[in-house]
């Protein structure tokens, strides 16, 4: 008896208060305040310590808080000064001397100087450094060629490399090279990543777990001050919910809009921005054994796949057809003379007949998702259909992303004939050096999972890596692309165009080819 009376009263009380409180707050609209930009992110950041993170999602916040010695020139992947005003490279390419910008201070008031630069690199690279334990630093190998960092004078710092390494400058421009405040690391220790201090146009305000990271305009910034008072990064992991928030006005900007949702943002109140980036989506072919050991069969696969249909129909125009191993976003190193393999099923059949490989059975590793993999299952199915149409017999095996990497990275031998893969890099050297050289076969610690080997390509890549002159490097990369396209160790499929949507209250926003999100010049009305 007593139980029920309590219950009935509770029903009424709960229902009434629920409705009343709900109704009272209804007029509050989803409008975001002016001067505050709210960005929909794809995940909660891991840490705000640039040396400790690897995800583009985290970099999008970091590049607004921190700065590096150099940065990518807006709209390009070329390097220009940022916290350094200039640099000199020794004749043999092993010594880089940087002159630092005067009058720059970290957000905690400590000065930016040569000591600070040395602290940053020693922390990452020197295992005996007192703050090396604030790691692990998963991308420290970007700077593994750095032998020592020396303070020449207060505003001059010198790096000595173990061997000439041309991508050094673009690696410095990558977020792993962003400069943190030594004093803040000393004070925060392993928790530095949750209270970051840099030199950038925004200062850190607060991080509410799973709700928001808030950064505010840096009033004492050495350069052009930021166009907004604050930026809020909201992690919204579900893509549909992110789209709904954008439509409802709960966020002002979202990145990585699903291709199928782009149609909802046509019209006056939204702007869609696109930018091709240093991304390439390809199929690794097993050149060591099976049908793809024959170059003609690898070329046949390139002719057989209708890449136009994949980028236009499966990816709804959010990518372009790739011609070779280097994405066109590396404008200075990209070989404009290369045309993609045309879609020519007849030619593919001829090549297969000549090679005597008709009806060849292929095992194809497909992933369910993953960084830069776009829409891997529909893409894999389309590819399977195209290959079957010219006389292959393709069976697909699907894996979750981490499992997939565990299968593919150690090499395809004995397991598969082909596998999907995608890379986003910051220098034209990275991908071919790690995935196309003979010395990059999986047993030697590289990513050449299809065992492609061409001594000419090996020589070109070694030479390009040690040449410090950009024009010489460009020429070598262009030759490499021509040979690799002809040898067809991969099926070159697509270069992704990153996209973003902003509301009509946002002005001055551009996407960068580096896929980083520079928000300092953005204005929110």
């Amino acid at each position: 008896m007593s139980l029920f009376r309590l219950t009935r009263r509770t029903v009424m009380a709960a229902a009434t208060s629920f409705l009343a409180l709900g109704a009272a707050t209804l007029p509050a609209s989803a409008q975001t305040p002016p001067g505050v930009l709210i960005v929909g992110q794809i995940a909660e950041p891991k840490s705000l310590d640039p040396a400790a993170v690897t995800a583009v999602n985290d970099f999008r916040i970091l590049v607004n808080l921190y700065e590096g010695l150099v940065r990518y020139k807006p709209g390009t992947l070329e390097v220009e000064p940022q916290l350094a005003t200039g640099w000199e490279i020794s004749e043999d390419g092993t010594e880089y001397t940087f002159t630092l910008r005067e009058g720059v201070t970290f957000h905690d008031g400590t000065p930016f100087n040569a000591e600070a630069v040395k602290f940053n690199f020693d922390r990452m690279l020197d295992e005996s450094h007192p703050f090396h334990d604030t790691g692990p630093f998963p991308l420290a190998f970007f700077f593994s060629s750095v032998e020592k960092t020396e303070v020449v004078d207060d505003m001059t710092v010198k790096f000595t490399l173990s061997a000439p390494y041309a991508p050094f400058l673009s690696n410095l421009a990558y977020p792993t090279g962003l400069m943190v405040s030594p004093a803040a690391v000393e004070a925060g220790g392993a928790d530095f990543g949750r209270s970051p201090v840099g030199t950038g146009p925004f200062t850190f305000a607060e991080w509410r777990s799973n709700e928001a990271v808030v950064i505010e305009k840096n009033a004492d910034y050495w350069g052009e001050p930021a166009g907004t008072e604050a930026v809020v990064f909201r992690p919204i992991t579900d893509a549909n919910t992110r789209v709904a928030e954008m439509l409802a006005g709960g966020i002002d900007m979202m990145v990585e809009v699903p291709p199928t949702a782009l149609g909802q943002f046509q019209g006056e109140s939204f702007n869609v921005v696109e930018q091709a980036g240093p991304h390439v989506w390809f199929l690794i072919l097993n050149a060591k054994e099976g049908p793809f050991a024959d170059k003609a069969v690898r070329q046949a696969a390139n002719y057989a796949i209708n890449k136009e249909a994949i980028v236009n129909d499966v990816l709804e125009g959010t990518a372009e057809v790739a011609a070779g191993p280097t994405p066109p976003a590396f404008a200075w190193a990209y070989n404009e003379d290369l045309d993609p393999y045309p879609y020519d099923p007849e030619k593919a059949k001829d090549l297969l007949a000549q090679a005597g490989a008709e009806g060849a059975e292929l095992t194809f590793f497909v992933t369910e998702g993953g960084s830069g993999m776009l829409d891997p299952i529909p893409m894999g199915t389309a590819i399977q259909a195209d290959l079957n149409a010219v006389g292959f017999d393709v069976s697909i095996e699907t894996y979750e992303w981490n499992t997939f990497l565990g299968e593919v990275n150690p090499g395809l031998e004995g397991k598969a004939d082909m596998a999907e893969m995608a890379w986003m890099t910051n220098d034209p050297d990275t991908l071919p050096y790690l995935a196309l050289r003979t010395d990059a076969w999986p047993d030697k610690g590289g990513f050449n999972s299809g065992y492609y080997s061409n001594p000419e390509v090996d020589a070109l890549l070694e030479e390009a890596r040690t040449a410090t002159d950009q024009e010489t490097r460009a020429e070598l990369y262009k030759q490499m692309q021509e040979i690799v396209q002809e040898d067809a160790p991969w099926v070159f499929v697509a270069n992704w165009k990153q996209n973003a949507v902003t509301s009509d209250r946002v002005e001055g926003f551009e996407l960068e080819p580096s896929f980083l999100l520079q928000l300092s010049s953005v204005v929110k009305n």
């Binding site: 008896m1 707050t25 609209s29 709700e211 549909n240 928030e245 409802a248 499992t403």
Partner: protein, 315 residues
Amino acid sequence: MGAYIVKRLISAIPVLFGITVIVFLIMAMIPGDPATAILGSYATPENVEKLNRDLGLDKPMVQRYFIWLGNMLTGDFGRSFSLNRPVLDEILERFSATLILAGVSFVLCSLLGILAGVVSAARQYGFADKAITFTVLIGISVPSFFLGMMMILLFAVKLRWLPVSGMYAIYGGGDLPDLIYHLIMPALALAAVATGVVARLSRSAMLEVLRQDYIRTARAKGVPEGRVIYGHALRAAMVSIIPVLGIQAGFVLSGAVYIEMVFQWPGIGRMLVDAILKRDILLVQGGVVFVAGCYVLFNIAVDVAQGLLDPRIKT
């Protein structure tokens, strides 16, 4: 009674111990390791090995299990590498969010479900019964995540009455009305299925009781109908309704996983999904053990409540 509770609590220890073994083995056996997940495309065997060493994952499995168990017994759940903070801090913070969502949903589904069941039993085959039965059928049949997405489209995107997602407003929020404002849609979506189940079971439990002789006696001696239904019948029917509520509590807790994803509620379900995808071993293990522990305690509480309610059940 006290002895019974103590006995039940002691018998829960081997269950929890078994859970630690199972969750540890599952995390050890699923393919893909944290280093590969962190490094992504850059996971060379050399980098993976170095990072695994930095993360302390190079030790033998049995040794790792006992280190983990030993630390956990002293209250140290370890540090999440994907969030770079102590696992227990994260779990407690996220679990309170889940508790608010699941708790409100549980109250909603119990009250609405019992009310619907009682009304429909009292008016058996009448219009109210048919209307309720039909609504309940729809409630049970529509998956909660789909219902959630449809609610977002209608109430947040089209009508703009309610916020799409999150627990508090990004600016100027943080108080109770703000919380309730954000709670309405996820709580209703999560309660829908459970309400249906409770309603159906309450209806049949009530019908069962209403056929009993003592109900006829009550009516015959002139007890008002309202008192017969709510006083005599429901009280007896509660004995069979309470265990169902216990099951629904578990259901609401596990259903919170989808609802938390759809509405981006910062709860423990969403935390576990993210942690599994990132192979954040300690966070998954700690989270599962914590939730399982709560579940076990809750089941004991339900059994005890049932014993208090029904003197026929020997404790």
